[in-house]
């Protein structure tokens, strides 16, 4: 039951990121997704992985909370398609995880599918940089958790630690390399 609850928490967090346009909503969404994935990792016998996810995800969420204007931006006008997307992605992922597959890790599969689907949709729909970076941080958390889907392969904490580092880094670090000219011909052609 704890795993089922955690998977629903992950869906709630991903939905928050889809429905929010401002920093507080995005940061809360990232924090909720982090907690959900951390509980799933803990339940699968990965305490180090769970701790890594909490540290990485919440570091990113905290940075997001303190950056930019202090608004929530939840469900601005015109959000109905996004709301429908959240519900539809949740139902589709639930159907695949609970009905189509016979795998024992259905809650984790649901969480991974719903985050990958919703975050990809969020990035593809075009937003500002903060929205994309938050979605990418969630992506990293989902990718870090997905090796546990393979029941036959033992997964250590390495993917969790790596995913958590990325989740923190993409939000915390300035997402630019040393500045150069955008004009053609200055950096190799």
């Amino acid at each position: 039951m704890i795993e089922v609850g955690a998977a629903l928490v992950v869906w709630l967090g991903a939905a928050l990121i889809v429905l929010a346009d401002a920093r507080r909503g995005l940061a809360l969404g990232l924090a909720v997704v982090t907690i959900g994935f951390a509980v799933l990792a803990w339940e699968r016998g990965q305490p180090i992985g769970a701790i890594a996810l909490v540290v990485g995800g919440l570091t990113g969420a905290l940075r997001g909370w303190t950056r930019g204007p202090a608004t929530w931006g939840l469900m601005p006008p015109g959000s109905t398609p996004r709301l429908v997307l959240c519900v539809a992605a949740g139902l589709l992922s639930l159907w695949i995880a609970a009905s189509v597959t016979t795998t024992p890790g259905a809650p984790l599969l649901f969480a991974v599918l719903v985050v990958l689907g919703l975050m990809a949709a969020r990035v593809l729909s075009g937003g500002d940089k903060d929205v994309d970076l938050t979605a990418i941080a969630c992506f990293a958390l989902a990718l870090a958790s997905s090796p546990a889907l393979a029941s036959s392969i033992p997964t250590g904490p390495v993917p969790y630690i790596f995913g958590a580092l990325i989740a923190a880094a993409v939000v915390v670090a300035p997402a630019t390399l040393p500045q150069g000219s955008a004009r053609a011909g200055k950096d190799g052609g």
């Binding site: 189509v100 795998t103 870090a144 300035p174 997402a175 040393p178 053609a184």
Partner: protein, 343 residues
């Protein structure tokens, strides 16, 4: 294969930095190239596909963060779609379920790989005026070759044997699509810069066909073509940019030699790869060889156009073109050590 491609990418970076025109900022080019190489090395040694996807995510964010005309969202879109498709495909391969789900997983992996490289039907947005490092060219010609080899070798570990045939068929289908589209578009498009970009697509079409054949000849042809992209087409593209900008098509012997190398004529590397590919296709299903041979004929007009668009190479550029052509001839005449090294 990954080690050879990594070495080739490092050699191309050295060539690009050392033989760059004087106005190019070498330090910036070297820094960004080394970051890309570090990512590629990490991809090569990553034990699982999940770690490769995480590394890919880092590379995508770093590249999208570079200063460019296009905004962050536009540049991160394609890699994120690729990673999502690959991750979904991988998830479907891992769970227990009906065979249809496993086949959907294979579709996701192929679609994700093609999206990551930037091939049809997931062409990355291309701006001819954009700097090469920030453009989609590094995905298709620098990181892409090693990424494809790494993904395809790891996928074999998770893909059930009964899906492998369908997986190969998808690669061949997408390969043919890219061969035809790439050659025709490189010939007919108005912009020379876009023509260069489409020429990468057509090479990738042959590579996908080679991987899809899943026999030694096909794999060998794919490896040679991947190396000819990294060591040949990419540096030639870099050195052609000034000529493309100046719009000074030239018909000197060097332009014909470049066109021959790009078209895969004997004795350049592409010729050996094409022969191996046709031999492999004949072994598997001979009508495929007929289609491939017909498609290869389309290379000629596009390659002549690209060769002319280079203008007359001078100074460092001329030295670079000579080195690239010599390497291509060596690979074309004597590919055996390379193939033996790659197993």
């Amino acid at each position: 294969m990954a080690a050879e491609l990594l070495l080739a990418a490092a050699a191309t970076l050295i060539l690009a930095v050392v033989l760059a025109p004087p106005r190019v900022q070498r330090a910036g080019l070297l820094t960004r190239g080394l970051v890309g190489l570090a990512g590629m090395a990490a991809i090569a040694i990553a034990p699982t596909l999940d770690l490769i996807l995480l590394i890919l995510l880092v590379l995508a964010v770093l590249q999208a963060g570079l200063v460019s005309h296009r905004d962050f969202a536009a540049r991160v879109r394609a890699p994120v779609l690729a990673i999502a498709l690959l991750a979904l495909g991988l998830a479907f391969e891992r769970v227990e379920g009906p065979p249809l789900l496993v086949r959907f997983g294979a579709v996701g992996i192929v679609a994700g790989l093609v999206a990551a490289i930037g091939l049809l039907p997931y062409l990355h947005e291309f701006d001819p005026e954009e700097s090469t490092v920030a453009s989609p060219i590094p995905w298709i010609a620098f990181v892409g070759p090693l990424l494809a080899v790494a993904v395809l070798s790891r996928v074999k570990q998770v893909l059930p044997a009964d899906v492998s045939d369908a997986f190969g068929a998808m690669l061949i289908g997408l390969g043919l699509l890219n061969v035809l589209w790439g050659t025709i578009a490189a010939w007919r498009t108005e912009s020379d810069a876009a023509a260069w970009r489409y020429s990468f697509l057509s090479d990738w079409g042959l590579i996908l066909c080679g991987f899809g054949l899943a026999i030694a000849d096909g794999q060998g042809a794919a490896l040679i073509l991947l190396l000819s992209i990294v060591l040949g087409r990419l540096p030639l593209y870099l050195w052609s940019r000034q000529g493309v900008r100046d719009k000074t098509p030239t018909d000197r012997p060097i332009n014909l030699l470049v066109a021959a190398a790009l078209a895969g004529s004997a004795p350049f590397a592409g010729f050996a790869a094409r022969v191996m590919l046709l031999r492999g296709a004949t072994q598997i299903y001979w009508p495929l060889a007929v289609v491939l041979a017909a498609a290869m004929l389309l290379w000629l007009p596009a390659s002549l156009r690209l060769g002319r668009s280079m203008g007359l190479p001078r100074g460092r550029q001329a030295i670079g073109v000579a080195i690239v052509l010599a390497l291509s001839v060596f690979l074309g005449i004597y590919p055996q050590p390379l193939l033996a090294l790659a197993g």
